[in-house]
Amino acid sequence: MPVTAKKYTIKINRELCKGCQFCMAFCPENVLAMKKAKAVVINPEKCTGCQLCELYCPDFAIEVEKKNE
């Protein structure tokens, strides 16, 4: 079965993000990075949907959603 890339969409609300870097630090796959003191998605295809970033974001700024097939 082919592995379908990018099964999850990561939504970052830049207005709410305060740049604490929790999401980046907890992401096990280096999907996220910081740019201008805000979180950005750099490797969206690597996301495994563990939702640790969403769990630790104190600012309600990041959401991981499963893509509809």
Partner: protein, 274 residues
């Protein structure tokens, strides 16, 4: 994805808390616990005092009450007496509950009032500018203790258990999934239940004590915490500077409001007991 926005006053966001403050993590855990409990949101009321932690009710779309410093438990007692069918959750901080509201805290525990207390412990007075609180460890700095605090600190969980609480638990912001389980357990307890949650304060506590960023504090919680089951097998000397997490104390005692209503029903029209 958890629908946090269902429970939030989204027009009030972004919140006031500093970059890297743990209050947001606790708020999220609390919303997950409320969602899992299945309690009708119209029967829930959140009460808070003053402090960083006590800003929480401003962001959640429930019946909320923001009261004076340290008096959250006193207001919560009044609400519960007037409306016994309501589920009352008190959100408070270490300074709010242990210093200014210290008496309310021990006597609420002694009476075993049916309240759920979520205590955000960042070990400092954040909102007022970084003064040491009763939970600031000995030797740690605050703005009014530049050479380090010379006062020993409270162990909030032991204090609550000694005063008479029926459910006492502790966790940290690092243990985010454990938080919702503990809060949910506390909510289901009839009686005074306390969940103490250690939360990083990057602006004052970490900055003044040179502990690094908020993330370093979170990782410190990971390194220094011990589950209560394991801690019971260890020598007390090995537990120095460690954070014991989990359900620390649990017991059963008659609950105040039930006793009160029993007494009320027992009194006849001429004022005598049946």
């Amino acid at each position: 994805m958890f629908p946090y926005s269902k429970y939030l006053r989204t027009n009030r966001l972004p919140h006031i808390w500093c970059t890297g403050c743990g209050c947001g993590i606790i708020l999220k855990a609390m919303l997950r616990a409320v969602d899992r409990s299945g309690i009708d949101r119209n029967t829930l009321i959140f009460v808070s005092g003053i402090g960083c932690s006590s800003r929480t009710p401003g962001y959640i779309d429930f019946d909320t009450l923001h009261t004076t410093h340290g008096r959250a438990l006193a207001f919560a007692t009044g609400i519960k007496l007037a409306k016994p069918e309501m589920k009352v959750i008190v959100l408070t901080g270490d300074g709010d509950a242990c210093a200014i509201g210290g008496n309310h805290f021990i006597h609420a525990a002694r009476r075993n009032l049916d309240l759920t207390v979520i205590l955000y412990n960042n070990r400092i007075y954040g909102m007022t500018g970084g003064q040491p609180s009763p939970t600031t460890p000995y030797g740690e700095k605050g703005t009014t203790a530049p050479y380090g605090s010379i006062e020993p600190s409270f162990d909030v969980c032991r204090l609550a258990a000694a005063a008479g609480a029926v459910f006492v638990a502790r966790s940290t912001c690092y243990h985010a999934t454990q938080l919702d389980k503990l809060i949910l357990k506390a909510m289901n307890i009839k009686g005074f239940s306390l969940v103490e949650i250690l939360s990083p304060c990057p602006t004052y506590y970490a900055h003044l004590n040179r502990l690094g960023t908020s993330l370093d504090l979170l990782m410190g919680y990971k390194r220094n915490s011990i589950p209560v089951e394991k801690a019971r097998r260890l020598d007390p000397s090995e537990l120095k500077d460690k954070i014991v997490t989990g359900v620390i104390y649990k017991t059963e005692r008659p609950e105040y409001f039930e006793e009160y209503h029993k007494l009320q029903q027992g009194i006849t029209e001429n004022g005598r007991l049946r």
